[in-house]
């Protein structure tokens, strides 16, 4: 970047930061002023996080995509309502959480289909990881691993799952989770603790798989390479 001198002084002019270097709160302030490009940067930063959080709540990719888009549309339409009292991520995830809750409430009101010979409830079935005894060298594929983790997450009750995902995946602080969910701080702590315990129980069969750690380290190494 070429630095030219300021016309009013001999000091070299500071290069303008790119949109990627600007923090979220500054980006939304520019959107409030009517600029559109900062919103594109907000979309690229949040689409993955929102989709991941919502998918692990609703377990339907098309619905998760729809709700993630609805969240971003509402962020744009109601941008002027954001005030820098809380972090921007807190505001975005509050919108997403409310949308997810409303949708799951609607879903629970629908009458369940009766089956004559009902299969055992999904919560009672243990996770079925690949049998390491048959071929210990068999690697767990990433997609298979992802599906197992999503299944393990789905078995955590919804009221524990929301604060759990916001903490573990989106790395919001306890105070931010308190603002997003409207729960007391003590409740947030206890629900995260219970969700972690439940998640551990759900993935316990997986933890015995010898190749799991190798696959996990491979995935983490790839992710670090992509970041660099």
């Amino acid at each position: 970047m070429i630095c030219s001198k300021d016309q009013f002084s001999d000091q070299p002019r500071q290069p303008q930061p790119t949109l990627r270097e600007i923090r979220d709160e500054e980006l939304i302030a520019r959107v409030q002023q009517g600029q559109r490009k900062p919103f594109d940067e907000i979309v690229s930063r949040y689409k993955g996080r929102l989709y991941s959080f919502i998918l692990r709540m609703v377990h339907e990719p098309s619905l998760a995509e729809e709700l993630a888009q609805e969240t971003l549309v509402r962020v744009y339409i109601h941008a002027e309502k954001y005030r820098e009292i809380a972090r921007f991520s807190t505001w975005v995830f509050t919108i997403a959480t409310n949308l997810v809750r409303n949708r799951m409430r609607k879903r629970s009101r629908r009458p369940r289909m009766l089956r004559l010979n009902p299969a055992p409830d999904e919560d009672e079935l243990p996770l079925d990881p690949p049998d390491p005894g048959a071929d210990p060298t068999q690697l767990i594929e990433r997609e298979e691993l992802g599906a197992l983790i999503n299944l393990a997450t789905s078995r955590i009750p919804e009221k524990y799952r929301i604060p759990f995902l916001l903490r573990e995946v989106d790395q919001l602080t306890y105070e931010e989770i308190q603002q997003v969910t409207g729960l007391k701080l003590g409740t947030v702590r206890s629900r995260i603790n219970r969700a972690r315990n439940r998640f551990r129980q759900n993935i316990k069969p997986l933890l015995k798989n010898e190749t799991l750690l190798a696959e996990l380290e491979r995935i983490e190494a790839e992710a670090n390479e992509d970041k660099e």
Binding site: V43, K47, Y76, G146, N150, V169, R189, N193, R200, K204
Partner: protein
Amino acid sequence: MRCGRAREWLSLTMDSQLPPDKTISLEGHLEKCTGCRSYRDDLLLGQRLLRATEPEVSENFEWRLQLKLNQTLQEAAQSATLPWENPRWSLSRWLGTVGVSMAVSCAVIVALAMLVLPTSPSRDPQGGGTGPAVIAHHDAPMSSSSIDADRTDRRSLLSQNSGSTIWPRPVSLPNSGLGVRPANRGFPNSERFWVEIRNAINSRQAQIDRLRQENLLLTVERDDMRKQLVELKAQLDIKDSDQLDLQRED
């Protein structure tokens, strides 16, 4: 320390929520208890698994977001109502805001008209007396140079005829946007002036009616395009779900 308490504190220490003194006693317990150490390792591994297996968003996410955003903005624009169509609108509120401002602007216009319009007949500087007004049709608004010319003429006229009492030459009315201006000499022929005003209003009304018809046609066209968009979206969704099914089968 009991293991139940230690496991609660383990969750807090992962998020740096445990005070330092409790952290020390927890570490002391972990040195002695293999069960809690194993529990801690499982929690950390679970955290790594969650973060490593985050699902990826589809490639056409942003394109669909753009469609959804445009649709929402269009719907918001259409649902915007005129004030009197809003059930919460009340006459008193309207009088309080719009009414007062309209009253003030009307008063200003009347005051300007009284200042600008001539109050008595003026002598024709060329000796022709007051004649019938000549109403000229002008499409372009009155330029500042012509206004300045009038002022200059008035000043020079006054200076030439110093010593005798003459009426100041009337200043022509500014262009009202209707393409009509009264004459520069004497009083305007009021009857003809207002006839011309009426004709101009009628022609504008016809123009407005024509624009309304065009607007209706464009609205119909827009609705057709919206229906096409919905159909295309539905086709795209079907295609995506078919692809998902194929992937699952694989």
